[in-house]
Amino acid sequence: MTGIGILQLVIYMAVLILLARPLGTYIANVYEGKSAVNRFFGPMERMIYRVFGTREDIEMNWKTYALAFMVFNVLGLLVVFALQRAQTSLPLNQGIQFLTTTMTPDSAFNTATSFATNTNWQGYGGEMTMTYLTQMLGLTVQNFVSAACGMAVLVALIRSLARRTAQTIGNFWVDITRSTLYILLPLSILLALILVSQGVVQTFNTYTTAQIVDPTGIVTEQTIAVGPAASQIAIKQLGTNGGGFFNANSAHPFENPTPLTNFVQSLSILLIPAALCYTFGKMVGDTRQGWAVLAAMTVIFVALLAGVCLAEQAGNPAIERLGIDQTASALQSGGNMEGKEVRNGIVYSALWAAATTAASNGSVNSMHDSYTPLGGLVPMLLMQFGEVIYGGVGSGLYGMLIFAIIAVFIAGLMVGRTPEYLGKKIEAYEMKMASLVILIPPVVVLVGTAAAIVSAGGLATIWNTTPAAHGFSEVLYAFSSAGNNNGSAFAGLGANTPFYNTALGFAMFFARYWLAIPTLAIAGSLVGKKIVPTSEGTLPTHTTLFIAMLIGVVIIIGALAFFPALALGPIVEHFATIGG
């Protein structure tokens, strides 16, 4: 790694951590109705609730809250499905003659599930498949509300820890409205305008045809796809959605044209998830608790970020053997440049790969399938942790808080005391629900992968079959991504087939809702408990010891289940690479 490369990473981490406190404070105030925007927009906000048929002070028990979450999501899913199926006969379908991929029912189901669950896995290529109307009314809307739903579940869980002997965990409609209008929307407007100023397209014009400069090759013209991209890209990063406007996602020069857009977009991926840690600390009345969780996330992230940077910078030994210069210098970034853009080089590509899989974002600015085996292992592992290293907006932190509950439980077993987290006793019911949360993703991922590699439908569209370990990695990556609501891919797997559209669609559905609902059940149980006063025997959950314990639990419980599978994929391939 070069000095300037390290400096770029340090700047990124510093800005991320520095913004956690101010943004986290603002978010906490928004949810508690105390910020200036609540006061200013209060009358309008109350009018919105009247139209919805609710009131700010009508609170919900966990079952009503969970049901509202589910019904709202299923409804959204149906709308996106219908929009895709009808898109060719709806308005704003300019450029329709360039849409070369048919919108099949299985692809529409997969995409609808994908966007409603905040996964944004894309079996299709944006500029070849979707009309502008579908991108806006279907995908952009779900980018906002699926993120808002994740934040709502989180804030409900936080309330259950902060309140004592209460019965309700908040009003779902109030929570998603505040998340969308006061947090996601203003940040998106700001980001979208920065992006357009740098060259990200935002137009309703149709595709342009250019007469190219060197027509001596096989082509003489270039059709340039455009569209209202900046507005969608802003929320795709901030809402940890990740679904690209174009097929190449954030590698496309119209999505991510300059180092500045790369910096602000990769920052936006982790911005809200990191800030929510501070929000959590503030809302439970002890900011040290938030910092402790953020520290645990950051330690794991930095270690894995370093891993992917080093692996990619070292380059591909097979390319080295062809006599190609992969050395970093002032004149080139060097390293493994297959599937990477020159303006991003190795450092910004590796940083993005780590950030997008640590958060459940899934947008890519380089093609993970072409990474070196160890470079590709890191994003896979970050997803397999259960998307809790920062994680998705809301969903990452509620996942991490479940791990914290398991960590205090294990610590309690070690010393023989009833475990408590933030003064709330952790008992059998909480542990059963927490077990569901941590067991479902490995089951979905591993069973899905196994089913795919023993079925004809699963094997048919693995394009990288030599070495076979790489083909296995592609399938494992796909199910790790869907089964943890990430959405990035080893895109050499042809995933727009009935088999993968259906299997991955169900994986995304289970991974999102079978985790959110047990989490809300835990919230419903915790909120009714009294807060036990701190005593000599209380395990403090803001110390270095607890941070280390939490990291251990995430690694052992979250990721260990995947090691046999990883050994068959990237690890075998790594030895094949260095063995020549």
């Binding site: 009503t64 952009t140 397209v201 059709t223 340039i224 006599g323």
Partner: protein, 214 residues
């Protein structure tokens, strides 16, 4: 008021439908419309694709989108894996070949093919074919539309272009420097050369002696 365990259906069904309509209007229509409005007013060039207009008033490409260059008298860009033809800006894509895929790294592979093509072009121009080739010149970009190459990749091609365009290498290097963008604020991203911009400048300043432009 809410009772502990009963589900309040009234708080679920109607609000679900109404709020979805509300958020669709706000985030799906008003928000993109607002951004488009501001973008078209303040940044019309960028918002419409940073299009480059040629002498005859026709669009010749985009500042941000790379083009295929096959003529040895031009600087060549990254390999492009878009289908059905390279640099198809209506179907962006990377190669997605794994690092050990023989189609990529084998003796008949894409990288070897590019090495052979570069060496053939160099040999035809009578320049040294023994310098190591920078990696970005033999690998496909992620988007298939990468408009840039590294300064090293541009330098590699200077000798060949200088012969074919009948211009000295120092002048050519100066032109490359003009089309090289450094790191933003001296730190962010990577230095890079815009291939389309550089090649258009070549045509303008050093037209090929043998083949007049049509």
């Amino acid at each position: 008021m809410t009772t502990p365990s009963r589900i309040e259906w009234r708080q679920v069904l109607v609000p679900s439908a109404v709020s979805l309509i509300f958020f669709t209007v706000i985030t799906g229509l008003l928000y993109p419309a607002l951004i488009t409005g501001i973008a078209q007013m303040v940044f019309p060039h960028q918002a419409n694709g940073s299009l480059l207009i040629g002498e005859q008033g026709t669009v010749v490409g985009s500042d941000l989108i790379g083009q295929q260059f096959s003529d040895p008298a031009y600087f060549w860009g990254r390999l492009s894996a878009t289908s059905p033809t390279p640099y198809n800006a209506a179907a962006s894509s990377g190669s997605n070949y794994g690092p050990l895929n023989p189609v990529l790294i084998g003796p008949e592979g894409i990288i070897q093919g590019r090495i052979t093509a570069l060496h053939a072009a160099d040999a035809a121009a009578g320049v040294d074919t023994t310098q190591p080739i920078p990696v970005d010149l033999v690998t496909a970009s992620a988007s298939g539309l990468d408009p840039h190459i590294s300064p090293a990749a541009a330098q590699y091609q200077v000798a060949r272009i200088a012969v074919l365009r009948d211009v000295d290498t120092v002048t050519l290097q100066k032109l490359i420097d003009q089309y090289t963008e450094g790191r933003t604020l001296g730190v962010l991203g990577e230095p890079r050369v815009n291939v389309l911009g550089l090649n258009r400048a070549l045509d303008e300043q050093f037209p090929r002696p043998s083949s007049p432009k049509p």
